[in-house]
């Protein structure tokens, strides 16, 4: 369970996250949606202790993220940020192997090696395992990073806009993968998304943020409604049900 109490983040005078109180149950996929500047990524960064808080408390699986040692947390919680540029020249396998660092501290065991191969196979990266990351397309590189996070094998997995720079096919594959991680491996997946329809089709819960606050939360059935979406994004929506999924259009 992720428990957020009165979390606050300020940059100078502007309050980016303004007293968010939120409880996310363990298991399943939770999407955080909202317009630009709503504080989604900031909140995710604070949950995964990449960013300090100016007030409030956050605990993940009972561990206070500001007080628990980083290496202990790294075995419970993993995070993938949006922008993953690298100066190091690494192969896909090298990168995925870093996922075992919190467990092995650089001394790989046979078990670690097996898990690396598993993560590579899970993301269909086996044929590319020895390619250098800078030789791969953005989508493949993104997949390699996801494989690393998967290899870290934590109960809680955070993804900050993992669909950025992905084409339609890879975006769908990515969301299915997060779904599988939750369903097959029992992970708790929290993902920041821009596309409301991906959130609608692939998540169990949607948390909508606006101006640094949680505006509303609920199942896709409860959130993906014209009036709710209009309140979140400030533009008009048409919502249709297609194949049991609620799809919002907003192009007119």
């Amino acid at each position: 369970m992720i428990r957020i109490e009165q979390a606050i983040k300020r940059y100078g005078q502007t309050c980016v996250v303004d007293g968010v109180t939120l409880t996310l149950p363990a298991g399943g996929v939770t999407s955080i949606v909202g317009p630009n500047g709503a504080g989604k990524s900031t909140l995710l960064a604070m949950i995964s202790r990449l960013l300090g808080m100016d007030g409030g408390a956050i605990s993940v699986g009972g561990l206070d993220v500001t007080k628990t040692p980083g290496d202990v947390l790294a075995r419970r919680l993993s995070i993938l940020r949006q922008d993953n540029s690298l100066t190091a020249r690494l192969t896909v396998r090298d990168l995925v192997a870093f996922g075992r660092y919190p467990h092995s501290k650089g001394r790989m065991t046979d078990d670690d090696a097996r898990r690396i191969e598993e993560a590579l196979a899970y993301l269909d990266l086996k044929p590319l395992a020895d390619r250098f990351l800078d030789e791969l397309s953005g989508g493949l590189r993104q997949r390699a990073f996801v494989a690393m996070v998967l290899c870290q094998d934590t109960e809680y997995m955070m993804f900050d806009e993992p669909l950025n720079n992905l084409d339609i096919k890879h975006a769908v594959t990515m969301m299915r993968l997060l779904r599988r991680a939750a369903d097959e491996l029992g992970k708790t997946v929290v993902v920041v998304l821009h596309d409301i329809n991906f959130a609608s089709c692939h998540s169990d819960r949607i948390v909508a943020m606006q101006d640094g606050r949680v505006l509303c939360q609920g199942t896709p059935q409860e959130i993906v409604r014209p009036d709710v979406l209009e309140a979140i994004y400030g533009t008009s929506f048409v919502v249709q049900e297609i194949g049991g999924k609620r799809i919002a259009t907003y192009f007119e």
Binding site: D71, A74, P102
Partner: protein
């Protein structure tokens, strides 16, 4: 896995090759053109060689580690204003006490004093910057550059108002030279370098993770702020030792680190660090050899190294390695 094996073999070959090159340079330096009594030549050259090894090691390791924490292949510790501070300390001493008194001071006291001032400076700067709300390394760089300019300007000003005779003494001290090394300093330097290396060894496993960048490193459980500070202090000690021993050698670190990254198929520190040290040794000892045997001491080692380093720098920029 087969691919991986081939890469490992290549890395190993590079390691052995650069190691051999470094060893060859050392042997040539010790034996080439030796006339007269070996019992004089060998200890005389060994002192110089030991100093060069220390400097090559310090500069190579400090530059690679510095680039590791800044995630940038073009920055070197000298951008933090270290050599500028060294120049300033020297200038201030000569200015305040006069060239005669400075020359008469115990070189060991001077050396420890210089090292302490430089480490203190860096620690103060980092603590000040890291304890503030901003933990950006770019800000640190900017402050470093500005400090560098400040130190250089103050030194320049003092050097203009100084007595011309004393200025000549000062200038002589500021150019990198392995001919003016005091053998008594080597012991202290070696102890400092060994202590810094021990600390580095204890956190060695974090280096590769630090290269992935702050967020990923934290995600993988690294205490990023602490590790950065420890590495910065190690870098400060190493840079202090090398700068105090031979004066500023601006481009040398960049040259050595870039070459190591270029010729190795991996960026693991386990390989990068030794290869950088080997390249550093080969370049430094080789450069000194060229200086002594070809130019007959007509120029300074710094000039040879900066000429080569400047070229490498330009090539790097042109090839788009700047990030």
């Amino acid at each position: 896995m087969r691919h991986d094996g081939r890469r490992d073999a290549r890395a190993l070959r590079t390691l052995v090759l650069t190691g051999g090159l470094a060893a060859l340079a050392c042997v040539l330096f010790m034996t080439l053109g030796a006339r007269g009594n070996w019992s004089f030549v060998l200890p005389f050259r060994a002192t110089k060689l030991a100093a060069m090894l220390l400097v090559a090691y310090s500069i190579a390791v400090s530059t690679v580690l510095f680039q590791t924490i800044t995630n940038n292949r073009i920055l070197t510790p000298s951008i933090m204003g270290f050599d500028a501070l060294y120049v300033l300390i020297q200038t201030c001493l000569v200015f305040a006490l006069g060239a005669g008194t400075v020359s008469a001071l115990d070189p060991r006291t001077m050396f420890v004093f210089e090292c302490a001032v430089m480490v203190l400076f860096s620690c103060l700067l980092y603590r000040w910057l890291f304890s503030g709300g901003l933990r950006s390394l770019h800000l640190l760089m900017l402050v470093g550059v500005i400090f560098g300019v400040l130190f250089r300007s103050v030194s320049g000003f003092l050097q203009r108002v100084i007595d011309p005779n004393e200025f000549i003494v000062l200038q002589d001290r500021l150019f990198a030279s392995f001919n003016g090394i005091d053998p008594s300093l080597l012991g202290i330097s070696a102890v400092l370098v060994a202590a810094a290396s021990l600390f580095a060894l204890r956190i060695f496993h974090t280096f590769d993770v630090m290269v992935l960048g702050r967020d990923t490193a934290i995600g993988l459980g690294i205490d990023h702020r602490r590790t950065t500070t420890v590495i910065l202090v190690i870098v400060a000690v190493l840079v202090s030792v090398s700068t105090a021993l031979v004066g500023p050698v601006t481009f040398f670190g960049l040259l050595v680190a870039s070459l190591a990254y270029q010729i190795l198929p991996t960026s693991r520190h386990r390989l990068i660090l030794p290869v950088a040290v080997f390249i550093g040794t080969a370049t430094l000892v080789g450069g000194q050899l060229v200086l002594e045997r070809i130019f007959a001491f007509d120029t300074a080692l710094g000039i040879i190294i900066e000429f080569a380093g400047g070229l490498v720098f330009l090539i790097l920029v042109v090839r788009g390695a700047l990030r």
